[in-house]
């Protein structure tokens, strides 16, 4: 029997369960299954991840093959003679296959750029908020400088120096996106660094870095998770605009963002060019947000028995 199956007041009478890794994993799963929204989100994300990994085997057509004679064919269900599930784009490429392949670029860009900016932002926020004074001044001025530079300008500069490509795109998004993390983490740290439990850790003789990473950091995850889940979404869209400028992936490589951008010209006559990409982005983003929300509650020990 796990702690979760009982009412909170019964839990008080039970001996505490040793928190081994295995029971922890089982708890995670059973608590995940309790939330329908989170379960569905996990399923959606699993589908997207599997699509990205197994794209060559899953896609019915070559996503790169131009067949001008087949251009702008409507989807199968509105055109009984069609062989393309979601139709074709302006160069006659299969949209369904491109959506499957697009998951690769979009997920890679979304997740790795968030990882880079998250790590930079959280580190800067922690140091800035905890040490204050000169350290804070320096970091916050860097923040201001960063904000005053348009992402596009920085992207073009990096492209001019390093050339274009997926890795440079991730670098640009990662390096420009850390400011919100930095600011939020800083303010969170400032609000809890004078709490008595932090003082208690200092009084106990803990080292600064332990206080920062083991006492303070676990208490500020929730806003970081929320920003992270939103930024994945905006990164997927930014990738499209940067690719449009030539910084990102070449136009032939499918990504949800570029598909959305390419289809814009035809939206009046062929809305199947944009709708699948839009739906893919929104579903993924929604799933990430719901999962982020659930994760935030999961990490809060006060909600352990309620959720």
């Amino acid at each position: 029997m796990s702690l979760l199956d009982t009412e909170p007041k019964d839990v008080a009478a039970l001996p505490a369960v040793p928190a081994t890794l295995r029971t922890k994993r089982r708890q995670l799963l059973s608590r995940l299954l309790k939330s329908k929204a989170a379960t569905i989100s996990v399923i959606i994300l699993l589908i997207v991840v599997v699509a990205a990994i197994a794209a060559p085997w899953l896609s019915p057509h070559d996503p790169f093959a131009n067949k001008l004679i087949q251009r702008l064919k409507p989807p199968m269900f509105s055109n009984s003679s069609g062989i393309y599930l979601l139709g074709t784009d302006s160069l006659g490429r299969d949209i369904f296959s491109r959506i499957i392949y697009g998951a690769r670029v979009s997920l890679t860009v979304g997740v790795s750029a968030v990882a880079i900016s998250g790590v930079i932002g959280v580190l800067i926020g922690l140091l800035s908020g905890y040490f204050g004074g000169k350290v804070d001044d320096v970091f916050m001025r860097i923040c201001d400088v960063q904000l005053s530079f348009p992402t596009i300008l920085l992207a073009l500069t990096i492209m001019a120096v390093l050339g274009s490509g997926l890795d440079k795109l991730i670098l640009v998004l990662g390096l420009t996106g850390w400011v919100p993390y930095g600011r939020i983490v800083r303010s969170q740290v400032m609000s809890i660094k004078n709490d008595e439990f932090v003082l208690a850790a200092r009084a106990a003789g803990e080292r600064q870095w332990r206080i920062l990473f083991q006492q303070i950091l676990p208490n500020i995850w929730s806003p970081v998770i929320v920003i992270g889940s939103f930024t994945i979404a905006s990164n997927i869209v930014s990738e499209a605009s940067l690719s449009f400028l030539g910084v990102g992936v070449p136009p032939s490589v499918p990504s949800w963002g570029t598909m959305l951008a390419d289809g814009r010209e035809y939206i009046g006559v062929a809305d199947w060019l944009t709708i699948p990409a839009g739906v893919a982005i929104s579903l993924t983003v929604l799933a990430i947000n719901i999962l982020g929300d659930w994760l935030r509650d999961y990490l809060d020990p006060r909600l352990k028995n309620i959720l």
Partner: protein, 325 residues
């Protein structure tokens, strides 16, 4: 009580700068603690009382060097804490601990009880292995009267009194000599207060601890302390043995405080003469000239308003800062 001095506080000052303007210039300072001196003997409990905002808590924190004091000197077992390197100070913390006022804020909500109590052991390398740490935590939990099976619970699953016991176990973990109890009972119910006080007394006798007991509840302080100091606006007003202070207070401020203690007997309570203080506590950023208490003192004269009285020994081992004590 021995005559061995454990903690010596000399003219301790803790000023917090007030910053204002575009360039954050320092425009003044809140003089939270403005020159206090006293010794704490090994094995004694020194009570520290005063109104809210008089600098008691700041004094406690500055003594442990949780804040870098603005001036003065604190020596612990003969070594000046200000001269210690950060690493040396960190190591010395093993021997001096603190119990906090708010049992809700003083425990990390993300940590299990076993970890909260066990961390100081790990920090100072007092245990070599996980089983050893577990044994010591079990011992500590039993010592403060906590059910050992609660080890894997989170702080929010406990009541205020139990949380305070967790805080006490954490403070005891490294076997310190000196513990600052910063309003350790103020946030608790009266019945729980008595339990915690008894626990602290019992631990003091068993482990030979020395306490600096900061509180505003005068009757509790009298009960637990061997000597009591009275603070007002960052300064020590009177310091004497518990009995002498409560029976023969020399300073008018002490008298006013003592007259505010209710007597738990209605007929006597009705006859109780109260000495009401007028006005508010002056700002510690701009304390009055002369005696700090002169603005509210019923006995104040021109002398008091002009010259600050010296903190002097008015009777054997009885100090007071008043021209008329």
């Amino acid at each position: 009580m021995s005559e061995e001095v454990l903690v010596q506080v000399k003219d301790l000052k803790m000023h917090f700068p007030i910053r204002a303007g575009l360039f954050n210039r320092t425009v003044g300072a809140v003089k939270a603690v403005d020159g206090i001196s006293f010794d704490i003997m090994k094995g004694e409990t020194l009570g520290l009382v005063g109104e809210s905002g008089c600098g008691k808590t700041t004094a406690g924190r500055a003594i442990l060097h949780l804040y870098r004091p603005t001036g003065g000197e604190v020596s612990f077992k003969g070594t000046d804490l200000a001269k210690e390197s950060p690493e040396g100070l960190r190591r010395t913390r093993r021997h001096m601990q603190m119990i906090f006022q708010d049992p809700y804020a003083s425990l990390n909500p993300q940590m299990r009880v076993g970890e909260i109590i066990g961390r100081p052991l790990r920090v100072h390398g007092l245990v070599k292995s996980a089983p050893e740490e577990k044994d010591r935590v079990t011992e500590l939990m039993q010592q403060v009267g906590l059910n050992v099976s609660y080890r894997d619970r989170f702080p929010h699953e406990f009541s205020g009194g139990q949380r305070q016991r967790i805080g006490i176990a954490r403070a005891l973990a490294t076997s310190p000599d000196f513990i600052v109890c910063d309003e350790a009972i103020s946030a608790l119910d009266v019945s729980i207060q008595a339990q915690i006080i008894n626990l602290l007394e019992q631990l003091r006798d068993e482990l030979g601890l020395t306490y600096l007991f900061i509180a505003h509840d005068l009757s509790m302080v009298r009960y637990i302390s061997t000597r009591v100091g009275v603070m007002y606006l960052g300064k020590m007003m009177e310091l004497a043995s518990s009995d002498a202070l409560y029976e023969e207070p020399r300073h008018p401020y002490t008298r006013a405080l003592l007259s505010a203690i209710p007597i738990p007997d209605p007929p006597l309570e009705r006859q109780r003469q109260r000495m009401l203080l007028e006005g508010d506590l002056p700002s510690p950023a701009n304390p009055p000239k002369g005696c700090r208490f002169s603005t509210r003192c019923p006995m104040a004269t021109d002398l008091c308003r002009a010259v600050e009285p010296e903190f002097r020994e008015v009777a054997t081992r009885h100090w007071a800062a008043c021209h008329f004590a």
